[in-house]
Amino acid sequence: MSDERTAAEPDAEALRAAVSNQPRPPRANALSTSLTFGWRALLKIKHVPEQLFDVTAFPIMFLLLFTYLFGGALAGSTSAYLQELLPGILAMTVVFITIYTGVTLNDDIDEGVFDRFRTLPVWQPSVVVGALLGDAVRYTIASTIVIVLGLLLGFRPEGGAVGVLAAVALLLVFSFSLSWIWTALGFVVRSPESLMGVSMLLLFPLTFVSNVFVDPETMPGWLEAFVAVNPVSHLVTAMRGLMHGTATVGEVGIVLLMSAALVAVFGPVTMYLFRTHQ
């Protein structure tokens, strides 16, 4: 300990040199700062790998549970059901994981480091964009787990590898866009716990009252109407289409349109809350 103490003395000479005027480097552009904030998110995963628990355990649990619980009853066999279910489960798990984006941000806000980021001369949205880019890595991990496990269980996508990758890409775009709702809420809601509560309240109907598990035609009319406008239903339809090689431009287009709308609305709201946060 005493050794360390002597070593920890700041050195007067080095101190003078270090505080002497540094030539200010050219301002970092928006892409570079966003990627740097994304790097920070990855470093956090590296130092706190436990946080990946939710992106690994959830997908495995959901896929096994629903395949074997409902497969026989709903589609006659688990393997027949899996062909329809897997794209839906994939969408559902990743959409659920987006909650953590808001929770992480909500945690961050209370830390002093957030104040430092806000006083930096950088494109301010890059703090949030970078965090979302880091989250895209988590979404990718979760997607990989679901797809690999699905293939082991007998999932056979007719769209091939290209179709599956396109479906995952679409899912990442949608999740990135959806996350802006949680980032906005992250500024409004006081604690990470209550944010979890609010998010669950929104996500349960969005994911379960959709075409993920069953054919909407078996539902009462009013419920079917909700399912028809539910963005998650559209996402799942497009992903099924891409994975099985039957997607239309319209199916994919509407998901991209909804994603753009989400960012257009909740992006500015988040940034307004970011700027005025006290």
Binding site: A18, V19, N21, R24, P25, R40, K44, G112, R116, T119
Partner: protein, 376 residues
């Protein structure tokens, strides 16, 4: 303690303005006038006057107000902080010091009034302000999950350094701040002093023109406190303006060239440490009698000769008085000895900033000691 104050009083004697002026009010009035003059000169120099030559005012606020719900955290603050040197914001907890700093660092928007940093408005020109200032908050403004090195590289990258430059700058700072060994460890394992040093290092990755330090030494032991002071002095020697908040009067006295005393969101006094001490009288007379029974008699004699109230201290032999006219002190001493009172201590010192502070904050802001004495 007494020794230190007597040293500082010697410094003040060398500075005629702080003693000759009848009160600090005149002092601050002069300083405001010259500040206005500076501003006029800047404005006449043209809108781009700040680009090349440094503006001589680091901070300028007018009627700054910030509410939090019902609470007026900042209630009409006018500040004029010259570039260069250290400016202290001194006040008790909840006085509004942190809010003032957060307003100036663009973290909060004022509800009323204006604030300019090197001539740039903190609301309409926030980005220009951000590229000139840096802030170290009251609580660690570093990422606790990351290592010390990662924190510095992260900031260097955000500020525009290339990957290689960022690494080199981080290494240089870690070495200068005695953190090389701790560099690969997560910040959450750091001691308070190490964390604070890393925090300041993070603030000067690019040397800021103006550095805000919110209670930089709160919770540090004396050794770490001295280290932080050294860092601050090195920065100032290099031309950075430092604005720091503190609850420690000793710290303000040690470091600050000028001090604003804040209480309940308002500035109740402003000036050099010497001005503030002079504002509550020329000094404080401490007397100790041998026999506690004679204290009453000594008190009467002193208040008669000096014509000021005499305070009886907790120690049954001690008395003290704020002296306004020092030429009567010798007379008072003679009076005590002629009355047969045995005196064991008779010392004149400058009032400590603690006493200044109590004298200022004990009274409502609208009738505080400084302007009252000034108008006499």
């Amino acid at each position: 303690m007494t020794e230190r104050w007597s040293t500082s009083s010697a410094t003040d004697l060398a500075e005629p303005s702080s003693l000759e002026g009848p009160s600090s009010t005149e002092e601050s009035r002069t300083s405001v006038a010259s500040a206005d003059g500076t501003r006029d000169r800047l404005e006449s120099a043209g809108a781009d006057g700040n680009r090349d030559g440094k503006a001589t005012l680091a901070v300028e606020t007018e009627g700054l107000v910030k509410h939090f719900g019902e609470t007026k955290a900042v209630d009409g603050v006018d500040l004029t902080i010259p570039a260069g040197g250290i400016y202290g914001l001194l006040g008790p907890n909840g006085a509004g010091k942190t809010t003032v700093i957060r307003l100036l660092a663009t973290l909060l928007r004022p509800d009323a009034g204006t604030a300019r940093v090197f001539g740039h408005d903190v609301v309409t020109d926030a980005d220009a302000v951000r590229s000139r200032v840096s802030m170290t908050g009251q609580f660690a403004s570093v990422d606790e999950d990351l290592t010390g090195r990662e924190n510095l590289v992260l900031l260097a990258r955000l500020l525009g350094y290339s990957r290689a430059q960022a690494k080199a700058r981080a290494t240089e700072l870690l070495e200068a701040f005695g953190l090389t060994e701790a560099a690969p460890r997560q910040v959450k394992t750091y001691s308070g002093g190490m964390r604070r040093r890393l925090d300041i290092a993070a603030s000067i990755v690019v040397t800021p023109e103006l550095l805000f330090l919110d209670e930089p030494t709160t919770g540090l032991d004396p050794r770490n406190r001295t280290q932080v002071w050294e860092i601050i002095r090195a920065l100032v020697a290099n031309g950075t303006t430092v604005v720091l908040t503190t609850q420690y009067l000793e710290e303000a006295d040690q470091l600050a060239d000028r001090i604003a005393v804040i209480d309940a969101g308002q500035i109740i006094a402003e000036g050099t440490p010497g001005d503030l001490k002079a504002s509550i009288g020329s000094g404080i007379l401490n007397v100790r009698v041998h026999d506690p029974d004679q204290r009453e008699e000594a008190s009467r004699a002193l208040s008669r000769i000096l014509d000021v109230p005499v305070d009886l201290e907790a120690d049954p032999t001690a008395l003290s008085a704020h002296v306004t006219e020092t030429d009567r002190i010798a007379h008072a001493f003679v009076e005590l000895s002629q009355s047969g009172i045995e005196v064991t201590e008779f010392a004149l010192g400058q009032p400590s900033l603690d006493e200044v502070f109590l004298a200022l904050t004990d009274q409502p802001a609208d009738e505080n000691a400084v302007p009252e004495e000034g108008s006499r």
